[in-house]
Each structure stands twice: as C-alpha cells, then as structure tokens.
C-alpha cells in the first residue's frame, strides 16, 4: 500500500480524534488563550483602578507638616497626590512622618530622616508610595544641588566615572535588534527556553496518546495486522502532533509580536490626542514590522527543530510499554530541557563559528540566542536550517524505525 495513502488515512483519523477530544484541545490551547487573557484582564483592572485613584490623587497625610513647608507644597502640587488634612487623616493610604526636628536637621546640612508609612501592601498603595517617594527624591535632589552649588561644586563632582554599555553587532546579522536591554535578555535567554518548552508542551500529550496510547487502549495490534506502511502511520501521526505544536507556538509568538508592537507604539499612543482605529492599527503595524523579520527567521529554525524533537519523543513513546514509562521519560525531558537550554546559552561563547549551528539541539538553541543578540549571520541561519532538516528527517526515521520494531511494539502487549 502506498505510503502517501496510509499517511493521508492516518492523518485524517488522528486529526479527527484530536478535534473531538475536548480535554486535549483544552490543554493545548487554554494556556496561550487563557493566560494572556487573564494577564490582560488583571492589568486592565489594576490599571483602571490606579488611573482612577491617580486622577483623584492618592490620599496621603503629612505628620508635622510645618517642619518642611516646601516639601509639603511640592506634594500638594503633584496631580497624582491628594494631601489630606488632619480631620480626614484616617483615609490616607500613605503617611509621610516628619520628625519634630526635621527642619533643624536639614538646616544643619546633615541628613534629615523621614518615614513613609503605608497602610497596607496593596497595588494601589504601592503606586501611591511610589508617587510620594518620587516627589521626595526630586526635592532631595534639588536640595543636594543647592548644597553643592553653595560649595562651588556641581553634580559631576560626585560621579568621577560614568560607565556606558553597548553590544558589538555582526554586520551581516539576521533580524533586528531590540533597542532596550530588557527585550534583548528576553530574546536571548527566555525565548530559547520558552520555545523548546512550548514545542514539547504543545505536542507531548498528543504524542503520548498517538503512540503509547495505542498500546494502553490495545488498539496497536489492529493497526499492525493491516498491510499499512509503518512510515506512513508514523508520519500521519506526527503531522497532527506537528500541526498542534505549531498552532500553539504560533499563538504564543503572535501574542509576543503584539506585545512587542504595543510596547514600541506606546509612546506614539500616549503622545497622540485622539486616534482613529485605522491610525492605531497603522502605528501598530509599523511597530510590529520590525519584529516580522525576526519572527520569520525564528519560524525557519523552529519548524525542523519541532519535527526532530517530536520524532525523538515519539520514538521513545512507541518503545514505552505504558503511560507510566512514557511519562517518566517526559518528566525527565521537561526537567532536563530547561537545564540544557540554560547551560547552552551561558556556556557557548558569543560569535560562534557557523558549524556550531549544525550541532543537533544545541545549534538551534544557540541560533535563537544569537538571533536576538544580532550576532547570527545569514550563513549561520542557513547552516542551522539545512542541518535542522536533516535532523528532522532523522527524527522521523527513528520514530518510524521504532514503530516498525517488534520488540518495541510488543512491549506492554497483554
């Protein structure tokens, strides 16, 4: 029987089973849908609360306000702060406690101590305290400038050396660099970790179900007594797993892209007085277009990587006698993979030779790291993609080989 026919039959059946299996669908798609939705809802709720209170002013009370009239004046001028009088002091979420000798401490050119007391540890109080601290720190800075000026000095006198930081870029690098260090760290450390975890996380349950699940359900012998090609069976099953993995991965990446676009576009949004929906979409598209090249390169690396990982896991699961054995391996993978990723990221030096990108598993992790630090050359990407395709074919081969072995398939048969 032709391999392509078997592949089509098995793929259609496995895909139908997946679409009907609500539990598997939930565990596949709930995290990328529910987690960001929850985060957005929580952010919106907290944000609106903070904005509402900030508009009214965070209620604060100042003890011994006569000790620092200038500071009190600055606090009163701050829009986000509402200074309460003694009658309504109980409503304050932050209390600025000035000691009775605060003025004399300041006048003596020493350090004057005050205390910021918060009512609780809520997020609103946190923002209120931050607003108060900001005003006090500004006032303290101005006092410092005054003191330095009275001595004929300026602020540079306090900082003899200033350190600047920059990363050396490879000229023919792939993708665009994030401007801020925070985004770069996200890309170079967090993303390789997340990519490998999500890829496996998305497909793992399905791999279990389509391989060792056949043994547990005692359906494997019904398959084995047909003249269907083993490679066709494996590829049909693997395609469903691959589609599910990529669908989950795409959702995460799309959300990441949107987050990045919103983050980049936020200054333009806040500067504009009013925006139509079309204008907002245009700003977002322009902000996101920079990340599209990065995303395209990432997808080129991820596709063969996913197939290889799924193939290897599938081979093991075809060998495992039961769910327990397969789950034990999965647990080891889930623990070992993040450790491997972190070790690779930190142990591999920057600007590695292109051949490093051809090392199975490690090559792709390093490539993702270097993609975000803009040190991945086009040649490196090509090497990674071609070697990835070879390993992907190897992954399918190992899975198909294992699925065709009597000693692996008969393990666990009753």
């Amino acid at each position: 029987m032709r391999l392509r026919t078997v592949y089509r039959i098995v793929f259609r059946k496995e895909f139908r089973e997946l679409l009907r299996d609500r539990r598997s669908l939930f565990w596949l798609f709930a995290p990328p849908i529910v987690l960001p939705s929850l985060a957005i809802c929580a952010g919106l709720f907290i944000g609106t609360q903070v904005i509402r209170i900030a508009n009214e002013g965070f209620p604060i009370f100042i003890e011994n306000s006569d000790q620092a009239p200038e500071l009190v004046e600055r606090l009163k001028k701050e829009d986000a702060i509402k200074v309460l009088d003694e009658n309504s002091a109980d409503e304050a979420i932050v209390i600025v406690a000035l000691p009775a000798d605060f003025k004399s401490q300041l006048d003596g050119n020493g350090t004057a101590n005050l205390e910021v007391i918060t009512k609780d540890n809520s997020i609103i109080t946190f923002f209120g305290r931050s607003a108060v601290r900001g005003v006090i720190e500004d006032y303290s800075d101005d006092l410092l400038d005054e003191r330095l000026a009275s001595q004929g000095l300026d602020r540079d006198w306090l900082e003899p050396i200033q350190i600047g930081e920059a990363t050396q870029r490879t000229e023919a690098s792939v993708g665009t660099s994030a401007d801020e260090d925070g985004n770069s760290i996200f890309g170079t450390i967090f993303l390789p970790l997340a990519v490998t975890s999500w890829l496996l996380g998305g497909g793992m349950g399905l791999i279990l179900d389509t391989t060792v699940g056949e043994k547990e359900r005692q359906t494997v012998e019904n398959l084995l007594v047909t003249p269907a090609s083993r490679v066709g069976i494996v590829m049909g099953k693997m395609t469903v797993v691959f589609i599910a993995s990529m669908a989950v991965m795409s959702m995460w990446l799309t959300e990441g892209l949107l987050l990045s676009a919103f983050s980049d576009a936020s200054p333009q949004f806040s500067n504009a007085d009013s925006l139509t929906t079309g204008e907002a979409i245009k700003i977002l598209a322009e902000s996101g277009s920079g990340a599209l090249g990065l995303l395209a390169a990432l997808v080129v690396m991820i596709i063969p990587f996913t197939v290889m990982l799924n193939g290897l896991v599938m081979a093991w699961c075809a060998y495992a006698a039961n769910y327990r054995e397969a789950n034990l391996f999965m647990a080891l993978v889930q623990l070992g993979l993040p450790a491997t990723v972190l070790l690779t990221i930190f142990s591999m030096p920057a600007n590695v030779a292109d051949v490093v990108y051809a090392i199975p598993l490690f090559g792709t992790i390093v490539a993702i790291r270097d993609l975000f630090s803009e040190s991945l050359s086009t040649g490196g990407l090509v090497v990674n993609f071609i070697s990835g395709l070879i390993y992907a074919a190897g992954g399918i081969g190992v899975a198909a080989w294992m699925f065709g072995r009597e000693w692996s398939l008969t393990r666990g048969l009753q």
Partner: protein, 259 residues
C-alpha cells in the same frame, strides 16, 4: 488454509513456543487449546505477522508469514483477545479506518461496512462514539474490524471472553457462518463446551508445545474420557494446570502491586 511449520519463538531466555506444527483447512474451525501462558497468543501473533518467529514459519494461502507479510495480512483477519477502540471514533469510523488501511474505499467498502453492522448486530451503536461501550460492544466492533477486508482466514483469540449469553450465542453463530462460507477459522478459547460445539479439530498446546491433536471425539476416545474437558486435563496434567493457575494468580498480584 493456514499451515504452521515448526514455529518457534524465544523471548530472551524464555522459549514461549517450540516446534508448533499444524494445518487448518478451508471450511474448518481449528481449535487451539491450552492453559494460560501455554503459548497460544504468541502462536497466533506469529501467524498474524505481529511477532516474528525465532524459527520455523507458517504459510497462509500459499504466502509465507516471514517474507510475504503484506499478502498474509490481506488474507487474514484477527480478533485480538484484549483489543480496544478509539474513544472518539464511531463504530462505522473504526471499520472504515481499518478498511482504508487494507486499501479499500468507496461504495464497496461502505456497503461491506453496512453488511457487517447488520451481521454483527451493531445497528444500535453504529454511529455512536466508542467511549463508554460495553465489553460486548467492543468485541463486536473489533470483530468487524477483523472482517472488514473479507479475509478467507480468520483467527479468533478468546472471542467470547467477557460477553453476555446473548452476545456469546451471536458470536458462536458467526463462527459457524464463517465455516459455512468456506473460511479457515482458528479459534483459541478456554471454553471446552465451545470447542466441542464449534471445532472440527483441535490442538492442545502446553508450555509452547503441541501435546496432542485430532478431532474432539478422537481425543475423548483416546483418553477414555467422558468429555473433552476431562481429556484436556489428562493431557496437560492436573498438577500442571494447578501450577499455571497459581503462577497466573501471582503474576496478577504482582502486576496489581506495581500499578
């Protein structure tokens, strides 16, 4: 026709099957009897090409199980003792899936599915998903899957195990129907009354070897027993049966503990 020739299977140090030789003809029900762990299922798995023989071979309708697996698979239907189903597929989808994997499709396959659904009395659950099926329903669907490609040779491993009286009767009638259709049937079962009622010839297998073979009447006469069950106990040995039962109970306990 199924012809086993010196079939043997060794799992590491354990010899599960030794030099098993028999012939089962068209239009005949051939019984393979033996206590648990005797090597029946391994023999049937070798015949169905799931397990590779360590030595010897078998020929099914002229095709060798070692070298012509696809030909053998297309001429053989097997009902596995503990076979299960896919929870989210219907009875009809199960039959269609296995039919497709045998290279069948189109109107011919659909009409054969309808025929099997009628013949195996599966109309009530033909379009229901398998989740929650009773054991009897599962056995019927699996039997349908074994017969979807209309094989001339059928292997049935404990076909009535766990079935209620009505389903058991239905399965026995189906077996007799296979015989009347001229199929070659190999039946593995524990039920001696079933063997006496259905089988034309039997082989008694114990510790991987065939100890005796012949018609039920021949065996009963040879051992001067009242019935086949008594003859079977004499052939295998009461002590051996007791040991097998104890071993089985220990295995079950160990398995239960490990779970």
């Amino acid at each position: 026709m199924i012809e086993a020739q010196q079939l043997a299977k060794q799992f590491k140090k354990f010899q599960a099957v030794k030099n098993v030789t028999f012939q089962a003809h068209e239009g005949e029900v051939f019984g393979l009897l033996g206590p648990n762990g005797a090597g029946k299922t391994t023999t049937l798995r070798m015949l169905s090409t799931v397990v590779e023989p360590s030595d010897g071979t078998a020929v099914i309708d002229g095709f060798d199980i070692r070298h012509q697996k696809d030909k053998v698979r297309s001429r053989l239907g097997i009902l596995v003792e503990s076979a299960g189903l896919y929870a989210h597929s219907t009875t009809r989808e199960h039959l269609r899936y296995i039919g497709n994997l045998h290279g069948l499709d189109g109107a011919g396959l659909e009409s054969h599915i309808d025929y099997l659904i009628g013949a195996l009395e599966m109309r009530d659950f033909a379009d229901r998903r398998a989740k929650g099926f009773s054991r009897g329903m599962v056995r019927k669907v699996v039997m349908g899957m074994a017969l979807i490609h209309n094989p001339p040779n059928v292997i049935l491993d404990e076909p009535t195990q766990g079935l209620d009286v009505v389903s058991t009767r239905a399965v026995r009638e189906i077996i007799l129907k296979f015989k009347s259709e001229g199929r070659c049937v190999i039946l593995s079962t524990h039920h001696m009354d079933e063997v006496e009622r259905l089988c034309d010839r039997v082989a008694i297998i114990h510790r991987g070897e065939i100890l005796e073979s012949g018609t039920p009447a021949e065996l009963t006469e040879k051992y001067q027993a009242a019935d086949l069950e008594t003859a079977f106990v004499q052939i295998v040995g009461a002590e051996a049966l007791l040991q097998e039962a104890e071993r089985e109970a220990t295995d079950k306990k160990r398995k239960h503990k490990s779970e």
